[in-house]
């Protein structure tokens, strides 16, 4: 009798879990997940496509950087996507950085150096907010780690602008995006075909821009990823051998007991 009650309750619990969950998820009307893309940095052995990341950096500088900062990055970090020292110095030198105070107590402007952080488009968060309808554009340093779906989401967002469905009530200052939670995003479509003129002859399509800048952002969020995965393979192989040997020792030690 008691066994039956227990069996029944197990079955009920399992049923409740299996039957109602999908419906409940759909009922709450969530924004669809952005489709998965092929990324060079996927998988156990993935690495960043350096050419794509460099093109993505160009997209960031020429388009995104007018509103979005990346305050966790310094120009020197760009060596991580294959820029050499001279290139990094040249990139850093294109920006003006306020420094000081000097020995007379004056602030002064100077060209950037590799140790400088990426300069922000706005002098302070208040300025960023007031220029953008009250909400500051988010910093992009960690963007692919800070959103559900990561790189797929960022790519989906950049390519997901569309006309709103007829029944959808779009606020006047909003833009419709297929993958932004709730679909109404303040940022207008930032990229289009030929937004940026690539120097390496890559065809400048919207998809290409989005893919490149997402690769760049993925690197920016996890600059340690390549080293991490390389070390991980070695660590796991080492542990596999060690554990195998420990197992052999264990068998040997226990042999006389069995």
């Amino acid at each position: 009798m008691k066994m039956n009650i227990i069996k029944t309750s197990v079955a009920v619990l399992a049923l409740v879990g299996a039957v109602f969950t999908p419906q409940a998820t759909l009922a709450s009307g969530e924004t669809p997940h952005a489709p998965k893309q092929e990324w060079s940095f996927n998988g156990l052995f993935g690495t960043f496509d350096q050419a794509a990341a460099q093109r993505g950096f160009q997209v960031y500088q020429e388009v995104c950087a007018s509103c979005h900062g990346m305050n966790l990055l310094s120009y020197r970090h760009l060596s991580g996507i294959g820029f050499n020292e001279a290139e990094i110095k040249a990139i850093a030198a294109t920006v003006e950085v306020q420094d000081g105070p000097d020995s007379e107590g004056e602030m002064f402007d100077r060209p950037g150096i590799p140790a400088d952080r990426f300069i922000s488009p706005y002098p302070n968060p208040q300025a960023a907010a007031s220029s953008n309808g009250g909400k500051a554009p988010p910093d992009l340093s960690l963007m692919t780690k800070a959103r559900l779906g990561g790189s797929n989401y960022v790519y989906g967002l950049l390519t997901g602008y569309a006309d709103a469905p007829i029944e959808f009530e779009l606020p006047e200052d909003g833009n419709y995006n297929k993958y932004y939670p709730g679909h109404v995003i303040a940022m207008a479509a930032p990229l289009d075909d030929e937004s940026v003129e690539y120097t390496d002859g890559t065809k400048p399509t919207l998809a290409q821009h989005a893919k490149d800048v997402t690769t760049f952002l993925a690197w920016a969020a996890e600059p340690e990823m390549e080293e991490r995965k390389r070390m991980g393979i070695k660590v796991l192989l080492f542990l596999l051998v060690l554990t195998g040997m420990l197992y052999a020792v264990k068998r040997k030690v226990w042999e006389d007991l069995h």
Binding site: M3, I6, K145, K250, W254
Partner: protein
């Protein structure tokens, strides 16, 4: 320990401070251990390993961390980007927290299944529950330190729970915060306590092991050692090597996450710096707190269990009932040795209790799943049912089944059970 064969230096030390014989009696050849322990008994030593890893990585992190609301988030990112192997140390520490709870939950369920809490190991078990509580406090405060969105809002939600306590609740919350909201003083005291608590855990672990060594390990049959020669083997080399092998397997699991999925257990929102003006859509605690979170949220005004225990809302409001239930869900475990009235320890010989155990286990999993879902629609109903069942199991099923069930015949001895299994 035979001191005659010792190296002269060891002998010199041993004569003045007998560390070598102490070790031999605690972890060595002179510590008799039931020879039938299965791999579920590996998790004690694994927890010791994780504790050491957490303290070592944590101290390294503390050298680079800045406990200030303006700098905490960026100091963690500096560790990730500019400190040599900082990403490795931080990911070990971050995932180590999850590993700690995976191991401790297995350890606890093992104790529940094999009746390890029963006489004469009640105090051993109770110290274990206190270790769990200390771990939870440590983990909660550690999660606040990176000062991301989930850090801030998790801290806000959880500390606010204490305001439900009558009379002194608000004062307790002010004390926890060091002010009138979660702010810089909160972060500072959480950092100080997060550094302190692991050493409290070390102290509790010493007591836990001390209590363990008085009567030795329980074992899968749950019967006592009758003949030391036949039933037990020396901890070293038999279990030292088995534990080392277990550590190898466990480290592979641990390191897979560290190197290939370091943010698997985390919340993406915690990579957004804390902002008191923006509330995340779903505030969820770390996965290991989800079952308790589900219990907390199950208590709404119309929950039947709440109506009954509060005499129709007369005694307390639903928030207080939820907070009490959440703490009770752990504190009740302290009374397991008395809730369980069986003469036989192991569920191997208590088939009905074993069934109840697995349903309870499943119930805890469902509670965890519900804790991670928004409190709406069917999730509320399932959460309330599983919450009810959690307490129903501990307060009704365990006392009844343990006293009514007639256990299967026990093997004559540990040795006899091993010989029988080998046939």
């Amino acid at each position: 320990m035979d001191t005659n064969n010792m190296h002269p230096v060891m002998k010199w030390v041993e004569y003045r401070l007998p560390v070598f014989s102490f070790l031999d009696h605690s972890l060595g050849t002179q510590y008799p251990t039931p020879k039938n322990l299965n791999y579920w008994w590996n998790f004690g030593s694994l927890l010791g390993l994780v504790l050491v890893i957490m303290i070592a990585s944590g101290i390294s992190l503390a050298m680079h961390y800045t406990a200030h609301i303006d700098f905490a988030f960026n100091s963690v990112e500096r560790i990730m980007r500019d400190v040599n192997y900082g990403w490795l140390i931080r990911y070990i520490h971050m995932n180590g927290g999850s590993m700690f709870f995976i191991a401790v939950y297995i350890h606890i369920f093992r104790g529940l299944y094999f009746g390890s809490y029963q006489a004469p190991r009640e105090i051993l078990w109770m110290i274990g529950i206190f270790i769990l509580l200390a771990m939870m406090a440590t983990a909660f405060m550690g999660y606040v330190l990176p000062w991301g969105q989930m850090s801030f809002w998790g801290a806000t939600v959880i500390t606010n729970l204490f305001s439900a306590i009558p009379v002194v609740g608000d004062s307790i919350v002010t004390l926890l915060w060091g002010g009138f909201s979660v702010d810089n003083p909160t972060l500072n005291r959480f950092f100080a306590l997060h550094y302190l608590f692991p050493f409290v855990i070390v102290g509790l672990v010493v007591l836990h092991i001390w209590a363990l060594h008085i009567h030795g390990s329980n074992n899968p049959t749950g019967i006592d050692v009758k003949n030391k020669e036949q039933d037990t083997v020396g901890f070293h080399p038999y279990f030292s090597v088995k534990d080392l092998f277990g550590m190898g397997v466990f480290l592979m699991f641990f390191m897979f996450f560290v190197f290939f999925a370091p943010n698997f257990f985390g919340e993406v929102d915690n990579y957004i710096p804390a902002d008191p003006m923006v509330t995340p859509t779903h505030i969820v605690p770390e996965w290991y707190f989800l079952p308790y979170y589900a219990i907390l949220r199950a208590f709404t005004g119309d929950f039947l269990v709440y109506q009954v225990i509060s005499l129709g809302g007369f005694l307390m409001d639903a928030k207080l009932a939820g907070v009490l239930a959440m703490f009770a869900s752990i504190l009740l475990l302290l009374f397991m040795p008395w809730l369980d009235g069986a003469k036989v320890r192991s569920c191997r010989f208590r088939p009905i209790m074993a069934m109840a155990f697995w349903v309870f286990f499943l119930d805890c999993l469902v509670l965890g799943y519900i804790g991670g879902k928004p409190a709406e629609g069917i999730y509320v109903t399932i959460g309330q049912f599983t919450t009810f069942y959690y307490f129903f199991h501990l307060l009704v099923l365990v006392p009844l089944i343990s006293r009514l069930e007639r256990p299967k015949p026990l093997p004559e001895s540990i040795n006899a059970s091993v010989l029988k299994a080998a046939e």
